[in-house]
């Protein structure tokens, strides 16, 4: 009977009082953290898969259906999703999910971003003038993001505030323990020179003290060119670059070419939770990233 009632309510886009909060996140890392914080009281789905570049998601109408039935939409912000999310929000026809409403949360509000550009134009590539949106790879900033999400879950479902608060405390404790472990693993490699593909791991590199000397993309969002790779060969040799770190959804060939011409290694790592079979949660993903970096630096 309850199932029938639930289906009837759901069919018309209504949420029965006893139902879990329905949350849609734009990325898998946000999904994982929200699931940990909300526990059994939230049903979370992510629009972008961990294997996808969230800059270039197609605004499929089926995503719009998921958004239209959500109680809460959580996005990264800083224009990461600007190519597709506005269409989904407007198309969902849910006033409670409009920007500024309680049902719409942009987690970049919680953090101070890196690389804010007061002067930016498209000749610099596909830049984010408001700051680099890939801050989920910085564990310190994730503390702030988790606090913001937990607070919003409590606002939308006050009856479970205590549970959300308890989950947040447990999450922060686990994250602190992991940070100690990750720092222990990567600490010896502080100052290592690396080359990235896109600016996805800039927060991570800064957090663990790596020195980024270049990117395979000549400019953000621009495909690597042979000429640019040649110029990086000189940079990598002069700067004694150890690692070329490439997001696993990018073409590995440019990095491979560079690695072969220099005394460096290419490492492919998942850019988001769900980016490989081992990275099912935020902690799994960060473990994978740290372990891959450590393994290739030994």
């Amino acid at each position: 009977m309850l199932t029938k009632l639930f289906l009837t309510f759901s069919l018309f886009g209504l949420t029965p009082l006893w139902a879990n909060l329905r949350v849609v996140t734009t990325t898998e890392d946000l999904r994982s953290i929200t699931q940990i914080l909300g526990g059994e009281w939230v049903d979370v789905t992510s629009i972008a898969k961990g294997t996808q570049d969230p800059h270039f998601i197609e605004a499929k109408p089926s995503y719009l259906v998921a958004v239209s039935r959500a109680d809460l939409l959580i996005a990264i912000g800083l224009e990461l999703e600007s190519g597709w999310l506005p269409l989904l929000i407007r198309g969902a026809r849910q006033p409670k999910l409009m920007p500024g409403e309680t049902g719409c949360l942009t987690v970049s509000e919680a953090i101070t971003p890196l690389e804010i550009r007061s002067q930016a134009d498209r000749s610099q590539g596909d830049v984010h003038p408001l700051g680099n949106p890939h801050f989920m790879a910085d564990p310190e900033r994730v503390f702030l993001v988790a606090e913001l999400i937990s607070k919003r879950l409590s606002q939308l479902d006050p009856s479970h505030t205590q549970i959300f608060s308890k989950n947040l405390t447990a999450f922060k404790k686990q994250l602190q323990e992991k940070i100690t472990l990750w720092k222990k693993k990567l600490g010896p490699y502080k100052g290592t020179k690396v080359i990235g593909y896109h600016m996805t791991f800039n927060y991570l590199f800064k957090y663990f003290g790596f020195d980024v000397v270049g990117f395979l993309e000549p400019k953000p969002g621009i495909q690597p060119t042979a000429q640019h790779i040649l110029s990086l060969v000189d940079t990598a040799k002069v700067q004694k670059v150890k690692l070329i770190v490439v997001e696993s959804f990018f073409d590995p060939k440019p990095g491979q070419t560079l690695a072969e011409r220099t005394k460096s290694k290419q490492v492919l790592i998942p850019a988001y939770v769900g980016g490989d079979e081992y990275s099912k949660t935020y902690f799994d993903w960060m473990n994978t990233v740290v372990n891959e970096l450590e393994k290739n630096l030994k």
């Binding site: 886009g13 270039f56 239209s68 407007r90 498209r122 596909d126 495909q223 959804f249």
Partner: protein, 355 residues
Amino acid sequence: MRIFLFLIFLTLSSSVFAETFFYGKLLGGTQQVDKTMNPAISMNGLILGNWGPAIASGKGIQLQEIEGQFTAAVDPYFFANFILSIEGATGAMSPEEAWISTLGLPVVSLKIGKFFQNFGKNNLIHTHAQPLIDRPLVNQLIFGEEAFNTSGVQADILVPLPWYMNLSVAGVTGQSTDAYEGLREEDLANVSRLENLWDLTDATTLAFGISYSTGNNKANQLSHYLGSDLTIKYVSAKGRGGLAVVWTNEFIQGWRKGYMSLNEPVWDKGWGIYSILMARIHPVFWVGGRYDQVKLTSDATSNQTAENVIIAYVPTEFSSLRLQSGLTQETGTENRWQTLLQLNVTIGSHPAHAY
């Protein structure tokens, strides 16, 4: 001298006052806040090289069109979208679209103003976003080069089903469109569309739509238009620049009662189809082609078929260079070869891309 010093003082103080007044404490804001409230502005420019039969924008290398778009939420209840178009051939500026839609209604959205009518797949697509450089023949010959674009009110209902189903119903005035030329001011034509989309896999979708429109025509009788479309789209879930394949098919049929009595060279019955296959074979290259067939009947029957192929270089979301070549065959006329080269650039705010 004192007058000179007074003028300098006045100039300096007025500019300081203006800066303070508009961006400072008097409005409780900052320059950044003021900019945030500006609409998102983007401009699109199309430069077209045409080697073949004359088309609206002329032969040789010509400015095809400039389009400026301004979008913003008006307040918590309305969203506005104004698109101004400057025709390259004539320099004439006109509102291509100008509409207001609701933000505050659940399930339904209402749209009022001038807009491309939600009929079929291709009619909604602006010139710069067409998969090939020109519109399909059936859209050009039945709805005109400017597409089915007129003023009216449209309601869009997201039907509460497990898959995406959108029902769109509109009442429009037909004066500015080829579909209902000569419609009286007091007449309203209607346009309806039911669109479905299913996820076959994470990477593949199937979309099917049917459209219908009817209204008074200039013979003061009814015209009817019926359309159906089917699109299968695959976009590699691997990430950006991966393989993508889009196969779009559309059928449109029209009946314009009373046109035979007008003593004009116009068709009264017609139908047409097109099939477009596009594939991204490299992160920055698309290739594709389109087959068109149209049959229009009045005193005599006119059959047209066309085959076009295209290659597009798309280095970023903001620019593309496309080369299209094709052959059009029409009963009673010589075959026409056409080669088009188009540079397409967008500046300004990052556009959101429709699926």
